[in-house]
Subunit: 217 residues, 2 copies
């Protein structure tokens, strides 16, 4: 279901997505994978526990041996999703050479985030799709992570404005949301037929960065 092709650094960050030894743990994992798969495609209201169970090759009632409620299962999928994207982007940024310029850092973040969504992870897609659809008590659980993740983006943009790479005469807070939103919405439309993920990601980052680049005038 998931073919992450992760680098070593990310494999470590991604341990939570892997099944430890026991059979029970593996099944739990299979259920989570199934849930991420279905949620990312159908959203919250169109997803029944029986849909998830079917993909996981079991009956709906059996899910309760592994999860106490639908809410619990949903929350865990979402949590894995935010964390996956968060850590993957953070990792890529940390692995860049120390003096990497602010534009390259931004480009890296954009393309990595987008690739998580369109190419890598049902969890990332599920989290994005579910955000804004799930009951409030689920949503609040990961609001903090989302906010923390947002800080990375704030900083990336702030730094690029500060060093003169990006123009300083725009509402960067709104622009940040447009950038993240454009990527989020990819969950609704991206399919492999739309082209190689890497090239789609590159076209997007080019548009954004050229569009915001400070003019020398």
């Amino acid at each position: 279901m998931e073919e992450p092709k992760l680098t070593t650094a990310e494999e470590k960050a991604d341990q939570s997505l892997r099944a430890p030894g026991t059979k029970s743990e593996q099944t739990r994992q299979r259920i989570l994978n199934a849930a991420a798969f279905v949620f990312s495609r159908k959203g919250f209201s169109r997803t029944r526990l029986s849909d998830i169970a079917k993909v996981a090759n079991m009956k709906a009632g059996s899910l309760y041996y592994h999860f106490s409620s639908r809410e619990e299962l949903t929350a865990e999928v979402m949590s894995l999703g935010v964390n996956y994207t968060f850590r993957t982007v953070q990792n890529r940024l940390e692995n860049l050479p120390p003096q990497t310029d602010s534009i390259t850092r931004l480009r890296t973040a954009i393309e990595t985030h987008l690739l998580c969504l369109i190419e890598r992870s049902d969890y990332a897609r599920a989290n994005t799709k579910l955000s804004g659809q799930v009951p409030r008590n689920i949503q609040v659980r990961y609001d903090a992570s989302e906010a923390e993740y947002g800080q990375i983006w704030r900083k990336l943009l702030r730094d690029a404005v500060a060093d003169g790479s990006l123009r300083d005469d725009v509402n960067m807070s709104a622009i940040r949301m447009f950038i993240l939103g454009a990527m989020s919405w990819s969950v609704e439309w991206f399919k492999p037929e739309n082209g190689p993920a890497a090239s789609v990601a590159r076209d997007f980052s080019e548009m954004v960065l050229n569009g915001l680049r400070a003019q020398d005038r």
Copy 2:
């Protein structure tokens, strides 16, 4: 609930949103407005008929005098939403001077579409938010309108590439979805505190158009 500030041309296009004479029609309208209001904020699964009824100052059961089912009500809200945005954008484009250049046309479409979402219409927001959340049998009803609307955008971009205003070396189909997606996602975050709608819209269109502009080199 709705303060459209429409030009004459758009008022005409917007007749369906206005209440004709009878009391029953007015109530029906009040319910639709309430539904658009709630749906646009809570999405499909978090919205109960009782929530809509409350905003419309009535009890849930009474809704059935005006609508045969939740599905019917939802479908009508969505239909009004697509049509509103569709016609508003189309109208603005038609009212441009005939020789308007392709970039200005594109900018007009982008800013108009975005303003429909962030400033003007609960119906536009509801439709956007609900898309991808509602049951399939509702979704299919307006798939055709959405596709037709997409054609406007295809043409705008195609024309701008054809006359050399926009670069021709990108996957314009993906770019189109990124642009529309960025705007769609505004439903999730835009609040008046984010700044004047017109200026936010301008910042966005500037980024996009500068980002895609053909380089003279």
